[in-house]
């Protein structure tokens, strides 16, 4: 399979009045098309920085990110970014909220609107499209945020602890939903999470970052002997515990 995202020799240093911070040092990895790739690492090790670099929101101090073989120089439609909170705007109704990206890119066409309406319909939000965010539950809001990201038809989805603001029950079901949506729409996903179990149950591969300055500690291929992947059934696979312990230990050494 071809590599969709290639990160090579990435180095990121922040400058501020308090001095300079090396956030990432010599990070190398690549993600294949259609892959679900997770990143775990101690807090403050540069995970969000890494996603911002892939999204083209910030420019690396050195090294580069290639998407489809082309270096990332700024934001692109190919990449969708989901943040920890849904950040639905309370002054817009759900439909206006999910159209935000298209509106900013000046791509509101009948065709795109229908595509979005279809997404809302498919993921059970059609009847809420005229409601305001405060009228929706946490899980529905996060799904609306996903549709807002999908509306611009990105190939790659970056999820920065996208489920961690939800309570445990909702978190499991939203993670499941989003997993199946991403697979059905045949997207490539890069998920940052603190939750080792979540990363194993959702991903094809899990990358462990060292503590700051973040560098790649190891990458694990996840192969679970379950028919259908879901956050709960995956956790019952016999290999699950092995992976969990392995990754947990690697994280632990550096905490």
């Amino acid at each position: 399979m071809k590599c969709l995202v290639e990160v090579s020799n990435l180095f990121m240093r922040y400058h501020s009045l308090n001095g300079e911070t090396d956030a990432l040092v010599n990070v190398n990895f690549s993600v294949k098309k259609g892959e679900f790739f997770s990143i775990v690492g101690p807090s403050g090790c540069g995970k969000s920085t890494l996603l911002s670099l892939i999204a083209g929101l910030i420019i690396p101090s050195s090294g580069q990110v290639l998407i489809d073989g082309k270096p990332v120089l700024g934001t692109s439609e190919k990449v969708g970014y989901m943040l920890q909170k849904d950040y639905l705007f309370e002054w817009r109704n759900i439909f206006q909220n999910v159209l935000l990206g298209l509106e900013i890119r000046k791509k509101i066409t009948e065709e795109n609107k229908n595509y979005v309406l279809n997404l809302l319909d498919m993921y059970g939000l059609a009847e809420f499209k005229d409601k305001y965010p405060s009228q929706l539950s946490g899980g529905m809001r996060q799904r609306a945020a996903l549709i807002r990201t999908l509306a611009s038809k990105p190939e790659i989805l970056l999820l920065d602890e996208a489920f961690s603001a939800l309570d445990y029950q909702t978190r499991l079901s939203v993670a499941d939903d989003i997993y199946s949506i991403i697979k059905r729409e045949n997207k490539t996903a890069i998920l940052v999470t603190h939750d080792i179990a979540e990363s194993i149950s959702l991903s094809d591969r899990v990358m462990v970052l060292s503590k700051r300055p973040g560098s790649v500690k190891s990458i694990h291929n996840i192969a679970l002997s379950v028919d259908k992947k879901s956050t709960l059934s995956s956790r019952e696979a016999p290999e699950f515990r092995e992976y969990f312990n392995k990754i947990w230990k690697e994280l632990d050494v550096y905490v």
């Binding site: 700024g74 934001t75 970014y81 920890q84 950040y87 990206g101 900013i104």
Partner: protein, 270 residues
Amino acid sequence: MFNIKEPVVSGEHKEYLRKIKIRKLSILLTQIALLVLFFILWEVTARYKIIDPFITSQPSRIIRTLSNLYQEGHLFKHIGVTCGETVVGFLLGTLLGTIIAVILWWSDFLSKVMEPYLVVLNSLPKIALGPVFIVWIGAGPAAIIVIAMSISIVVTILEVLNGFLGVDKDKVKLVKTFGASKLQVLLKVILPSSMPVIVNALKVNVGLSWVGVIVGEFLVSRAGIGYLIVYGGQVFQLDLVMASVLILSLAAALMYQVVAYVERLIVKIK
């Protein structure tokens, strides 16, 4: 579909609601009674010369003054002038203040450069500049409006800019992931998020604008309620002064209600 059910109200709850209603009503009645009592006391004590109506005036004389003013056709002219100046003053103050805040938000450099000047201007009693404006602009409504505006504009700039800078960074990050330009960040996130701050500034500015306009009319002394007050004071016609103050309180209260209503409308639209 949702079933719209008749809410079940227990007797206990009805009793609770009734009590609250009665309490509200008795508060209102007491408020009215207090006002009526005040005016009656004023009238009676003045009539029996317990207080000197020459320096305290008295309700019946105030009413006579008002009706004279009305018959001469001056009453609504003065009210109109003052209200007009006030409205233009606070609208301009809020609008220009917001525009300047946008400019300072846009350019961090400019914002840092302006910071000490704004702090000094903010602590300066703007009324002190009144005579300067009158010399520059001429003794007329324009100078009065500028005085009113100058009182509210600096606070507005500081408040609104603070509101802009307080907008959640991740909301900005979100629209940037969609490739938003700086103008789009302003229009899609910063301004709508700061709407409550701007409307609040508007409300505060109403009060400030009244102060500016009345002082302006004191200085310019051509027309308006402030002019009536100064004139009445100079010729020792306390009836005219008191009548004007009365009108002023009514007009100010009314305008505040209108702005509060507009605020509710805007909040509802959001």
